[in-house]
């Protein structure tokens, strides 16, 4: 890593110089945003390239083609590399040495658990003779096989043998292009990951009895592709992080680099080609799917935050633990309405959550199959949840997390720092919110049968109510406006396909809504009750109205001020 560390330092120094150039430049010089950092226009391209180079280094020097890094480097004003170094940055051997080093780091991470104060209780002898934690033995064996392939110069009958083994570990995923660089030869055919995954694994199912070491991999599938696992804190930071491009941009290279909101990268977008109905969903099934999804995302979020921001984690860990325990309780609730297969999946999800909690707290978690009861740190799950919420609340009171967050330029508030993982027990919305939400839902279900004028009147009525209601929070008001806007937008899209006349009417409506905004808070133009008796009729092409939802947005902002 000496070479790459040296390279990183050079890049960071150059970034610093570019920032200093902007800071000391005369005020009339044009400033642009590059890589989320304000720079002089002349440095825009170079700054973006430098950020891309840092990303490559952060991702263990993985490149999409052999000279990607060098090509980028040539655009910058960094000192030139000598021929020997250029070879190292491009050669497959270099990539393989790096890969081997990462594997050995991970193997050591697993093996040294034996010496940690919270060491696991069950061990097995791996094929290299080392005593390995039972839960990690399968991954450890995969590393041994991968090392063997690397020593053989990647010689294998199956081009993707190494790739498949690697996917079963917690190493940062590797793209096919990067794998080609590592292999030093072109792939004979594309790797169809999703097909293999779905056929082999399906919905992750794990019953309490399925606790043999060979099945630890299937347990890990519950954590979804967003994972990795948190249990091994011995791993070095860069290798434990899942591939999160935006986070690289948000991690300050130097403390004094100002951070701005991330901008959209067009190349990350996937076009939606079709939207269709899914008729298989049942209410309880959906609740379970959501529970599993939230489990996966919660684990993913905790893992990445833990690895990227250890200082903040120290303060917010209590909240995270409470959040994970809360998710376990939710999964337990869903269990009662689940089918046998879903129950097993939920149990698997809770096993994964319990593992993360144990990893974070050092406390043992235990499941008693005969009673179906989880205990963590010697307490039944509900008690543990209450204890952890109390701890988290106390911690939040002591630490000014919000300030810490804004000092780092992190988006959001307490939620960003782990409090978002606190279960939403006390975050229920107000009764008035639900009443207004109900009105929007009613409008949603009836909108197709209302003509343009009636749609407008009803929207006006609900808008007034949202504006005037004092018993909802500003956040709730914002949510309701968002729902209303979305509904109008949808209606707008439908109507815009009907007739060009809508344009004229749109203008008229915009003007009328603008008038409404001026009058708002004191004069309610129409009440919802007034609307109840409006005669419904089929949507008439000529009556179609294009509502300008931006007017409503402005209204919402005006009210919140």
């Amino acid at each position: 890593m000496v070479l790459l560390d040296k390279e990183r330092n050079l890049i960071e120094e150059r970034i610093q110089k570019i920032i200093e150039a902007r800071e000391t430049a005369p005020s009339e010089r044009k400033i642009v945003i590059a890589g989320n950092i304000p720079v002089l226009e002349e440095h825009e391209k170079e700054m973006k390239v430098l950020k891309d180079m840092l990303k490559i280094i952060d991702n263990n020097f993985r490149q999409d083609h052999k000279t990607e890094y060098l090509d980028l480097r040539d655009v910058t004003k960094l000192p030139e590399l000598n021929e020997k170094d250029r070879e190292l940055y491009t050669s497959t051997d270099f990539q393989r040495k790096e890969e081997l080093r990462k594997i050995e780091t991970r193997m050591n991470g697993i093996a040294t658990k034996y010496f940690s104060p919270t060491k696991p209780t069950s061990y097995q002898k791996a094929s290299d003779g080392r005593e390995i934690n039972t839960g990690d033995i399968q991954e450890y064996e995969n590393y041994l096989k991968m090392k063997d392939i690397l020593y053989r110069g990647m010689d294998s009958n199956d081009y993707y043998e190494y790739f498949k083994l690697r996917e079963k570990t917690r190493m940062v995923p590797m793209s096919e292009g990067q794998y080609e660089v590592l292999m030093g030869k072109t792939a004979p055919f594309p790797y169809e990951k999703s097909v293999v995954e779905n056929k082999e694994e399906g919905l992750a199912v794990r019953s309490p009895e399925m606790s043999s070491p060979n099945e630890e991999t299937s347990l890990a599938t519950v954590q979804s592709n967003l994972e990795p696992d948190t249990n091994d804190h011995n791993y070095d930071d860069t290798e434990s992080i899942i591939d999160v491009p935006n986070l690289n941009e948000q991690t300050p290279t130097k403390q004094n680099i100002p951070e701005l909101p991330p901008h959209e990268e067009v190349e990350e977008l996937e076009e939606v080609t079709k939207i269709s109905l899914w008729d298989k969903i049942k209410k309880h099934k959906k609740a379970i799917l959501i529970g599993l999804g939230l489990t996966a995302i919660a684990i993913s979020a905790v893992v990445v935050i833990t690895q990227l921001m250890p200082a903040i984690v120290a303060a917010s860990q209590a909240s995270q633990i409470a959040g994970l325990a809360g998710q376990m309780v939710s999964n337990g609730t869903a269990w009662w309405t689940a089918t046998a297969g879903e129950q097993a999946a939920l149990h698997g999800a809770n096993t994964a959550l319990a593992n993360v909690i144990s990893g974070m707290t050092g406390a043992a978690s235990n499941y008693t199959a005969s009673t179906g009861v989880w205990t963590i740190a010697g307490q039944a799950l509900p008690q543990f949840l209450n204890t952890s919420i109390a701890t988290a609340t106390a911690a939040a009171g002591k630490v000014t997390l919000l300030q810490a967050g804004s000092a780092l330029g992190i988006v959001g508030g307490l939620g960003s720092l782990g409090a978002g993982l606190i279960p939403s027990k006390d975050r229920k919305k107000s009764t008035k919110y639900y009443e207004l939400n109900n009105s929007i839902e009613k409008l949603k279900s009836n909108i197709k049968s209302l003509n343009g004028n009636d749609q407008t009147k009803l929207v006006q009525s609900i808008t007034n109510k949202i504006i005037e209601e004092d018993n909802i929070s500003e956040k709730e008001r914002e949510i309701l406006f968002r729902k209303l806007r979305k509904l109008i937008k949808k209606s707008k899209m439908q109507n815009s396909m009907l007739d060009d006349k809508s344009v004229t009417q749109d203008k008229e409506l915009t003007e009328s809504l603008a008038e409404l905004r001026e009058q708002n808070s004191s004069n309610t133009i129409l009440t919802e009750e007034d609307i109840v008796n409006i005669e419904r009729e089929n949507l008439d092409k000529k009556e179609a109205i294009d509502v300008d939802y931006t007017v409503l947005e402005e209204t919402a902002i005006a009210r919140s001020l």
Partner: protein
């Protein structure tokens, strides 16, 4: 994009949209990847809805900080749903 609908991306992947975030002005959907038989897999993600030049796009949200923010809202919706199921 709407909850309970399946979106098909240009790369052929299909996602069922389970929940929409009400947290911000952006549309963030908790989604599950569907297999060839349109059955849910164990791959979950959060997709952001983006409109550009009249076309609809999605962007996978991997940023742990944003995911963390969204969790509060998603959890609240999920708990409401569980309560409704219980009452039914």
């Amino acid at each position: 994009m709407e909850v309970d609908k399946v979106i098909t991306l240009k790369n052929g992947k299909k996602y069922l949209l389970l929940l929409e975030s009400e947290l911000t002005l952006e549309g963030y959907y908790l989604a599950v990847l569907l297999d060839d038989n349109e059955e849910p897999t164990n791959t979950y993600t959060v997709l952001q809805e983006i409109e550009q030049n009249g076309k609809l796009y999605t962007k996978k949200i991997n940023d742990a900080l944003i995911l963390n923010e969204l969790l509060v809202d998603y959890r609240s919706q999920h708990e409401d749903m569980l309560e409704e199921n219980k009452a039914a």
